[in-house]
Amino acid sequence: MQFALLIYHSPAEFAMRKNDYNDPHLGAWRAYYKALVEAGVYVGAHALEVPETGTTVRLREAKRSVQDGPFAETKEQLAGLIILELPSVDAALEWAARCPGASIGAVEVRPLAPEAMRRGFTG
C-alpha cells in the first residue's frame, strides 16, 4: 500500500532552507531520506519551491481566474511530498513522526488512491 507524506512548512521553516550542504537542518533531512531508503519503504519524493512562486488557476462559470501564490492564505503551506510503500497506516504514522518536518511544521499522511484509479487519470 502506498502512502503520501505531505509536508507542510510555516514561513519560518521555508526561510530556513539554505543551499548549504553543511547546514544541520539539511543534515537531518538527508539522514531521514537515508533511513527511508535503508528501510526499503522509499518510493519517491519531491520538494516544492516556496509558496510565493506558485500560481493558482481556477475556472468558475467559464471564467478564468489566476492568482499569485497558493490557493489559501493559511499559515502552513505544502512544501513537499514523499511516497512510501508500507504495510499499514500505523507504519506510515511512525515514519511521519520521524520526519524532521514534523517537529516544526506538520506532516499529513494520506493513502494514495488505488492504482486503478490513478491509471484512470494518467491514461
Binding site: 543534515g27 539522514a31 533511513a35 535503508e38 504514522l93
Partner: protein, 410 residues
C-alpha cells in the same frame, strides 16, 4: 453555594473519579463482562454527580453514591438493549446488590481481575496498554491515541473491538491459576511498562501528554503492588520506573537540549524517588525470585550510585545485562549490553557485541545506530561513525535527540 465551594466540589468529583474509576468499572463489569456498558453507566453517574453534588453537597460516601447511581443506569441500559432473556439472572443480581450497596459502602476490589482481563492472551497485545489506561484509569481515547501515534477514530474503534471481545469472547473475570500466573502477570507488567516507555520516549517533559502517562504508569504499578504485595517483579517494575522518573529533570538542559545519562548532573536527580526505588528493589530481592524488571532496576540503581561515588561501575552493569539477556533477549537489552561492554572493556568489545545482532532487526532501531556511532567514533573511525550516526538521526523522532546526534556526528 458560592464559587469556591463549587470549585471544591468539582475538585472532589475529579479526585473521586480518578481514585474510584477503575474500582467501579471493575466491579460493575465483573458480573456482566461488559466493560463498555460499565464505563457508560459510570460516566452517566459522574455527570449526575456534577449536577447534584454542588447543589446537595458531596455525599458521605461518594464512591458508594457513584456505584448506586451507575448501577441504576446500568440496569436501565440493559433493559433498553433488550437483552433480558440472556441476562435476566445478571439483572436480578445487579438489582439485589444495588439494594445491598445502599446499606453497605463496602464492595470488593476487582481491579486485579480487570488488569488480567485487559492483558488476556485472546486480546491483541498492542491493545493491552490502551485498554488498561482506559478501563482502569479512565483516560479517553483521544489522549490514548496521541500517545500511541494512532488517529483518534482508529483508537476508538480498536478499543470498542477489544471490549466486544471481552464481552463476547468468553474472557473470564478472574485471577489466573497459580500455574498460569507468572506468564499472565508478565503481560500485566509489560503493559504497564509500555505506558511508561511511551512517556519516556516523549523525553523529559517536553510533552505534557508524555509526562502524565509516566505518572499514570507509576500509579498503575502502585495499584498492582497494593493488590499483589508479594510479587517480586511488581516491586521490580515500580523500582525501575521510579529510578528513571528520578532523573526526569536532569535529562534536559535549560535550553531544552538533550543530556545523555552519563553527562547528567546527578544533583538534579530526585532523592525521594531514588530512595523509594531502592526500598522497593531491596524488598523485591528479599522475596528471592529474580526477574527481568528487578535486573533492569538493578542496572538503574548502579547508575544512581554515581551520585555518591562520582563514577559509574560499568563492570557491574555488564554483569546485570548478562543475566538480563538470558531471560529477556530483546533488541533494547542487547543494545544496552553492547553499550555497557563498550564502556567497561573498550569500543572493540562493544562493537563485537553489536555485530552479533541480526541486521534485519536493527534497520529501524535508533539506539543501535547511536551506540554504534559512538563506539566507532571512540575508535577514531570518523567516516564509519558518521554513517552510523546518520542512520540514528534519520530514525530519531525527538528533535532534541536529533540535534544531539547531529552534534555528535560532527
Amino acid at each position: 453555594m458560592n464559587g469556591s465551594n463549587q470549585e471544591d466540589t468539582h475538585r472532589t468529583i475529579e479526585r473521586v473519579a480518578r481514585e474510584s474509576y477503575g474500582r467501579l468499572v471493575a466491579y460493575l463489569s465483573s458480573h456482566t463482562r461488559d466493560v463498555a456498558s460499565a464505563e457508560d453507566a459510570l460516566s452517566t453517574a459522574l455527570v449526575s454527580a456534577l449536577k447534584n453534588w454542588p447543589r446537595d453537597g458531596v455525599p458521605q460516601n461518594p464512591e458508594a453514591w457513584l456505584l448506586t447511581t451507575a448501577r441504576h443506569s446500568l440496569i436501565d441500559l440493559m433493559r433498553h438493549q433488550q437483552v433480558a432473556l440472556a441476562s435476566e439472572p445478571t439483572l436480578l443480581l445487579l438489582r439485589d446488590e444495588t439494594n445491598e450497596a445502599a446499606l453497605s459502602a463496602e464492595f470488593p476490589d476487582e481491579r486485579l481481575k480487570l488488569l488480567f482481563v485487559c492483558t488476556h492472551p485472546a486480546i491483541d497485545p498492542a491493545m493491552h496498554t490502551p485498554l488498561m489506561l482506559q478501563t482502569v484509569l479512565g483516560l479517553d481515547a483521544v489522549r490514548i491515541a496521541h500517545a500511541f501515534l494512532v488517529s483518534p477514530t482508529t483508537m476508538g474503534q480498536r478499543l470498542v473491538r477489544a471490549k466486544t471481545k471481552i464481552r463476547a469472547g468468553g474472557i473470564q473475570f478472574e485471577v489466573p491459576l497459580l500455574r498460569e500466573l507468572p506468564q499472565r502477570l508478565d503481560a500485566v507488567l509489560e503493559a504497564i511498562y509500555a505506558a511508561f516507555g511511551i512517556a519516556w520516549d516523549d523525553m523529559a517533559g517536553v510533552d505534557q501528554c508524555g509526562r502524565d502517562l509516566a505518572e499514570e504508569a507509576i500509579w498503575l504499578a502502585r495499584v498492582l503492588l497494593e493488590l499483589m504485595p508479594r510479587e517480586a517483579e511488581v516491586r521490580g517494575l515500580l523500582s525501575l520506573m521510579l529510578h528513571c522518573e528520578a532523573r526526569r529533570r536532569a535529562r534536559r538542559g535549560q535550553d531544552g537540549r538533550y543530556i545523555p545519562l552519563s553527562e547528567q548532573d546527578s544533583r538534579q536527580w530526585s532523592l525521594p524517588f531514588i530512595e523509594e526505588a531502592e526500598h522497593h528493589l531491596a524488598e523485591a530481592s528479599r522475596l528471592g525470585r529474580a526477574g527481568r524488571f528487578q535486573l533492569e532496576a538493578a542496572i538503574q540503581s548502579v547508575h544512581t550510585e554515581r551520585a555518591q561515588s562520582g563514577r559509574t561501575e560499568w563492570s557491574a552493569i555488564v554483569l546485570f545485562y548478562e543475566q538480563l539477556i538470558r531471560i529477556c533477549p530483546t533488541l533494547g537489552t542487547r543494545t544496552g549490553h553492547a553499550a555497557a561492554v563498550g564502556e567497561a572493556n573498550g569500543p572493540e568489545a562493544g562493537l563485537a557485541v553489536l555485530d552479533g545482532t541480526d541486521p534485519d532487526d536493527v534497520s529501524g532501531y535508533q539506539p543501535y545506530w547511536a551506540v554504534r556511532g559512538h563506539l566507532l567514533q571512540r575508535q577514531g573511525k570518523t567516516s564509519e561513525a558518521a554513517e552510523a550516526f546518520d542512520r540514528a538521526i534519520g530514525l530519531a523522532e525527538d528533535p532534541a535527540v536529533r540535534q544531539f546526534l547531529l552534534q555528535r556526528r560532527g
